[in-house]
């Protein structure tokens, strides 16, 4: 493989990491609070607001059930409004964030719900406010689950980021389609797939390791 092609792969890898990294960070910034709220706002819970809970739940479901490629196209005006353009890696971050935030929110919700309800009662019994309960009890106790959720979100984002190539988003997926498929360069396709597999492995291993490190529930550490 020529140095030019290798250069292309390296550049595409950085584009992918850029898109996924920023989208994961923004998705977490929106998804974490949303997930905590979804997990604590049903009837009788910490931030009980059953109606808001149902409405947000419906919005999250709607976003999650929209196929990603349709979402990307459907929100092009919004993307242009936010990013100033609808083409390129930076523009791709907008649909990636919008797709990942509800996904992360549902994963966060599940992780927070795993925390023993007795701990909420305990913290309430010594006068903790709802915000203190979230920050000092729910999130620290759910941390292993939250890290695994984030890992899953990043892996999914790597897959989604390959799709934004279709709308000029750049990155590994774009490279694979344009060179590997459209220019009949199977070695390019193979290289892209190998890099993606390596990235997913790396992210998953790192996530597993961190989740294990912070998990004090097990005797064997």
């Amino acid at each position: 493989m020529s140095p030019e092609l290798i250069n292309l792969i390296v550049q595409a890898t950085f584009e992918s990491l850029y898109m996924v990294g920023i989208a994961a960070a923004l998705g977490t910034a929106f998804g974490l609070p949303l997930g905590v709220f979804l997990a604590t706002s049903r009837k009788g819970e910490l931030f009980a607001a059953p109606l808001v809970n149902r409405v947000l739940g419906a919005v999250v479901n709607a976003t999650r059930s929209t196929p990603f490629i349709i979402l990307v196209v459907a929100i092009i005006p919004f993307t242009r409004f936010v990013a100033g353009t609808s083409i390129g890696s930076t523009a791709a971050i907008v649909p990636l964030t919008i797709a990942s935030a509800p996904f992360i929110a549902r994963l966060v919700e599940a992780a927070i719900r795993e925390v023993d309800g007795g701990l909420i009662e305990t913290a309430s019994s010594f006068g903790a406010s709802p915000i203190q309960i979230v920050l000092k009890v729910l999130i620290p106790e759910a941390l292993p689950g939250l890290l695994l959720a984030l890992t899953l979100a990043v892996v999914s984002l790597l897959g989604y980021s390959a799709m934004v190539g279709a709308v000029g988003g750049g990155g590994l997926g774009d490279l694979g389609i344009r060179y590997g498929y459209q220019r009949f360069m199977p070695e390019m396709m193979l290289a892209v797939v190998v890099v993606l597999i390596a990235l997913v492995q790396l992210v998953q291993s790192a996530g597993d390791y961190l989740a294990r490190r912070v998990n004090r529930r097990l005797r064997h550490r």
Binding site: A123, F126, S129, K136, R216
Partner: protein, 380 residues
Amino acid sequence: MKAASMNAHPSLVVGEPIETRAAIVTEPDAMVRFEAISKTYPAYRGKPGVNALQNIDFGIPRGSITGVIGRSGAGKSSLVRLINGLEKPTTGRVIVDGRDISALAGRELRLAQRSIGMIFQHFNLLSSRTAADNIALPLEIAGWAKADIKARVAELLALVGIADKHDRYPSELSGGQKQRVGIARALATRPSVLLSDEATSALDPQTTRAILDLLANINRELGVTIVLITHEMSVVRQLAKEVVVLDAGHVVESGHVADIFTHPKHPITQSFLAEVIGDSLPVSLASRIVPQAAAGGQAVIRVQVRGAGAGDTVVARLARELGLDVALLSARIDEIGGQHVGSLTLGIPLNISGGEDAVTRTLAWLSQYQFPAERLGYVA
């Protein structure tokens, strides 16, 4: 002669200590007072509403160890959660240390909750924090300075006897050690009341004893009023001085432990007592009891005994005063609140002809001294 021996054994006199029974209700200096409390859970998702508590009116004396005993579903958990405001009464007021906690909400309630500690059956420790950091949590929430927290945590770890477990995570601690962390955490903000919700129900008997001893020490040394919710008679017997018996949302009896359990009135109280003193006979005896008298056999009589030394006295005096050859077939005597309670199963000899005059005289004697007795049958 009768009067003299009654003086010699004052505990044999079974009076009705009405005033002590009422003491827990009228206690003027109550730490916790329930006033005309009822608690109803509304119907929800097809489940009918539940009247968890009704007509609750009593006080918990300052500095006491008060047991609240009842079967599951009796309303114990609801009752204890009214004290620290985790639940609100449907009607009535809960006064804790002079303040109506049932009227507080938001920040005011959270401040009041710092003076009421609580420990739980399943310990409820944060798995992500070490023993020391678990104990520090209520202090962090109360906004203590870091240095003060550190000093207080060290003090508390020493108080509950696990200073060496400072950096251990809950998963590395035994049940008893976890509950010690729970107790230290509950005491962190120097509360005046400690609520214990079945705190020893998940522990083995030996560990239970150690934890109850620790609670007794804390009560003695810190003067903390302790409210023990339990379904186990052994817990009340070992630790509590006052007891409230709860059944189906009502207080059925309350007063000093010794009074309540030496003269249990309500069937629930009697069933709790039976757990300690037992009301079943040894199988070898039970299988021999027949309903008809046989010449040369014995009538089997079970006697409930109450009071210090009562058990020995009954057998000795029956033999001496009635001149009977009393056989002790089975006996179980225990101590509750410094008073002996138990039951004796006696064999009273029948005549050669099967006549029962000795049995009649025995029952008359027992009834004269107010020992409840019943005839179970006969053995050959």
